[in-house]
């Protein structure tokens, strides 16, 4: 009898431990550029009482497809890394539960999408320019997207394949936003004018661009507003920038929605937000001071192209683009 009782009690204890451990874990699906220091992880676990597990299977597209495929039995409680240009799919597919973080400052409230996507960080995808090259050639630099379609500038520009790269895709959306139904004509001008379409960001920036290492043939390249911080002699063109916001959300049907909410709140804390430029090359959404070198040449654009996340039809744009080439 005694033995049985002891056995039962220890079984119950084991079961309790098991379920406790399960409740305390929070699983967050992130894109593969997500970075969080050991100290930050410890701080989150300390504050919230949850143990953090992250999974990073790939870029934003892989994330969203993972959410779609696992919809009936979600593995993650929360997701971080959905951006402006793929948000519509997430909303349409009803992949997230409503949550708006109380930690979000008023200034960023306008960025919330459909009450379920909380903005965490942002950035600008912009045409970067090798200023020294233009000075040497005595050529006037272009200003906006319209200028780039002129043959003399198109021939100097390296953009990136929208189908395989997220900045490349951001730029495609920017042109579709600016030129509406005429965006295909715009691209025809770019391509006919001799613009290069690189397969990835690093190919464009390091192989094609003349500014970064000084040996590529194109003095105009598609990159980020933060890139000039690391490459002296280069700058970005503020009127070509398209604003990209990265969001976090609570997965619909999650085992631990509270844990995901706690993590979203944590990502909006001052400590995490101020680490974003250094760790992820993005800009905080709350009011944090930027690193010194960013303040000189890499502030966000004052005149970015703003895209309504709910109006971007990814599939349609990319198929139309594939037909163009």
């Amino acid at each position: 009898m005694k033995k049985t009782a002891v056995g039962l009690v220890s079984l119950a204890l084991l079961a309790a431990c098991g379920s406790d451990a399960e409740e305390e874990a929070v699983t967050i699906l992130t894109h593969d550029s997500f970075v969080m220091s050991e100290e930050q992880i410890a701080a989150f676990e300390e504050e919230s009482g949850y143990t953090l597990q992250t999974i990073a299977p790939g870029d934003g597209g892989v994330l969203v497809n993972q959410l779609i495929l696992n919809r009936d039995n979600p593995q993650a409680d929360g997701v971080y890394g959905v951006d402006t240009f793929i948000a519509r799919t997430v909303i349409e597919e009803a992949l997230l539960a409503p949550y708006t973080s109380p930690a979000l400052p008023e200034s960023a409230e306008s960025l919330v999408v459909a009450d379920s996507l909380t903005p965490i960080d942002q950035g600008d995808v912009c045409i970067n320019i090798d200023t020294a090259w233009f000075e040497e050639e005595g050529m006037t630099p272009p200003e906006g997207l319209e200028d780039l379609r002129a043959p003399e500038y198109a021939a100097l520009t390296a953009v990136i394949d929208p189908a395989t790269s997220s900045p490349g895709y951001a730029f495609l959306v920017a042109t579709a936003t600016e030129f509406g139904d005429d965006w295909q004509d715009y691209w025809a001008d770019l391509l006919d004018g001799g613009a290069r379409v690189a397969s990835g960001w690093s190919d464009a920036y390091y192989s094609d661009f003349s500014g970064a290492d000084g040996d590529g043939p194109y003095p105009l390249v598609l990159s980020y507003s933060s890139s000039p911080a690391a490459a002296p002699g280069t700058d970005y063109l503020p009127d070509t920038c398209v604003r990209q916001v990265e969001y976090a959300g609570v997965v619909e049907g999650a085992a631990n929605p509270e844990g995901a909410q706690a993590f979203i709140d944590f990502m909006l804390s001052d400590a995490f937000q101020s680490s974003i430029p250094e760790n992820m090359y993005m800009y905080p959404v709350t009011d944090q001071e930027l690193p010194a070198e960013w303040q000189e040449v890499a502030e966000l654009s004052d005149t970015p192209i703003m895209v309504d996340p709910q109006r971007v039809d990814r599939g349609e744009l990319l198929s139309a683009f594939a037909d163009l080439r």
Partner: protein
């Protein structure tokens, strides 16, 4: 005797169950999810199969694979002659050099060609970076050894008297080669060609690192449809198209290698010292080894020591960090640790499944058992030919509920890698085991040995001889596996190839150099594991 039967049954059932649960089920689940909505949706097939793009992509896949295969054969056949039929000083070293590319992970091959043809590379001025030509060259580089080894192994055992007779009757050297030697080698050439074609048409890591010029291949298109267009239906249909191509290739390969096995009668090794008349194949092989094999490797190593405008070991010192600028995730050192640990587990799983399977496949059986055997032999090659995207996503949707909720299990990645390594393990064991003359087992049995004792004394030594190579292949394959691993990677399972590809795609000035240094480390690991495996191999007497 009952135990003996039970053991054989288990040796069939366990591998089949393993493949069913960890390959057919996830892959099938992903394909079904893509094309099944309340019954098969024929419009999807019509849409995809009538889309011009589908056929452009298929065409490019076949074209690239065909050119890669032809290139490997044209260069590989003279190589097989020089490295296996002739004898000269330094031959062992030359053979080792020729074999290195095949044991390199595809990601490293991609990086090596970028180092040669890309930014700052010695051949940058040719403008071949990210062209179809570069991809084909890399495919030839990677598969040269397959042709050299397969064809060389047969050539070594060919009886020289047939050629001598033709020469005596007045045939010129080239005529004797074309009319006597080539027909004898044909089955081996065709069999190697089929395997090379298979590798070429599904190489995921290579296209991911080299880019996908032109319309891209089926593999990149499946990746694009599923991760960029979020169109799993199109991805599934393209996966099926890819599987059809792979099955056709396998059927051809199986038919041809059976012909080889029929003709191949082991004669004693026949080699001759290099003669003046061998100048043509010798020059061709030397040129291939220097320009195609050594040059990209040297370029890779050189590039990894370049720091800014000068030289140094900074890129290697940075391997202790997770990158500069756009850093993140595990450090490269941690990734090396992960790779070695995961590779060890994957190797153990692949051996546990592969060794019994190889024993089963190498026994001579008749009737319906024989066709079952050849179906099984073909089926285990399938993992080489199914899209990594399909397998990766398949794992996450199929193995997601108890009792098989492996999504957060540390075994997920090793199991996926074991599935990919299994074909090579089995392929490297079966030929040795199959070469045991059946009479030897029968004789032993007649003399009263129990079946267990026959297994231990007759098969055992041959098994041990093959085992070293099998371990080497399994470990090197899982070290280099990129496709499925990249879809399953969690912070504690980020492997070296995954980190290298991520570093290549990241801003930050030192990340490119770190990727090169990481690739050198990965190449050294893979090559030394294979070398150790070769050295441990013992010939049974």
């Amino acid at each position: 005797m009952r135990l003996w039967r039970a053991a054989w049954t288990a040796a069939v059932i366990i591998p089949v169950a393993f493949l069913a649960v960890f390959f057919l089920y996830p892959t099938g689940a992903m394909l079904v999810r893509g094309i099944w909505q309340d019954g098969i949706d024929p419009t999807g097939f019509t849409e995809v199969l009538t889309d011009r793009r589908t056929w452009l992509v298929t065409g490019q896949t076949l074209y690239q694979a065909a050119l890669g295969t032809v290139g490997a054969i044209i260069l590989g056949v003279p190589g097989a002659y020089v490295l296996y039929r002739c004898s000269f000083r330094g031959q062992r070293a030359a053979r080792a050099l020729a074999t290195i590319p095949f044991v390199l992970p595809t990601v490293v091959v991609g990086v090596a060609f970028r180092a040669l043809l890309g930014r700052g590379g010695p051949l940058e001025s040719l403008g071949m970076d990210q062209t179809v030509t570069a991809v084909i060259l890399a495919l030839v580089f990677f598969n040269y050894a397959v042709v050299v080894r397969t064809v060389g192994g047969l050539w070594q055992t060919l009886d020289p008297r047939a050629v001598q007779a033709a020469r005596t009757l007045g045939a010129s050297r080239s005529r004797a080669f074309l009319t006597v030697t080539v027909p004898q080698l044909a089955p081996a050439i065709a069999s190697a060609g089929a395997i090379v074609f298979l590798f070429c048409s599904t190489s995921y890591g290579l296209v991911r690192t080299l880019g996908s010029p032109g319309y891209g291949t089926l593999e990149t298109e499946i990746w694009r449809q599923s991760t960029s267009m979020l169109d799993n239906r199109t991805a599934a249909i393209l996966s099926l198209l890819q599987i059809v191509i792979v099955i056709l290739t396998l059927l051809v390969s199986e038919a041809l290698s059976r012909r080889t096995a029929g003709r191949l009668q082991l004669r004693s090794r026949h080699v001759t010292p290099l003669a003046r008349a061998d100048a043509a194949p010798l020059v061709m092989t030397a040129a291939t080894m220097v320009t195609l094999i050594a040059f990209p490797l040297i370029a890779l190593v050189t590039r990894s020591f370049r720091v800014g405008d000068g030289w140094g070991t900074d890129n290697y010192r940075l391997l202790g960090t997770s990158g500069t600028g756009f850093a993140g995730g595990a450090t490269v050192f941690e990734a090396i640790g992960n790779s070695l640990r995961i590779g060890l587990i994957a190797t153990l799983i692949a051996l546990a499944i592969g060794v019994p399977l190889a024993l089963v496949l190498s026994r001579r059986v008749h009737g319906p058992l024989a066709s079952g055997q050849s179906i099984l032999a073909g089926a285990i090659l399938l993992p080489l030919g199914v899209s990594a995207v399909t397998v990766g996503f398949g794992f996450s949707i199929a193995l997601d509920s108890p009792p098989l909720d492996l999504r957060s299990s540390p075994l997920l990645v090793p199991i996926a890698q074991a599935v990919v390594a299994l074909p090579l393990v089995v392929r490297s064991l079966t030929p040795t085991l199959a070469s045991i003359a059946p009479g030897r087992r029968e004789a032993a049995a007649t003399l009263g040995a129990s079946p267990w004792r026959v297994l231990a004394t007759i098969d055992g030594p041959f098994l041990l001889r093959g085992l070293g190579i099998a371990i080497g292949f399994a470990y090197a394959t899982s070290l280099g596996e990129f496709g499925a691993t990249s879809f399953l990677a969690r912070p504690d399972s980020q492997t070296l190839p995954v980190i290298i590809v991520r570093l290549l795609g990241r801003p930050g000035e030192n990340n490119y150099g770190m990727a090169m240094a990481g690739a050198v480390v990965l190449a050294l690991l893979a090559a030394s594991i294979m070398a150790a495996a070769e050295a441990a191999r013992k010939d049974p007497r």
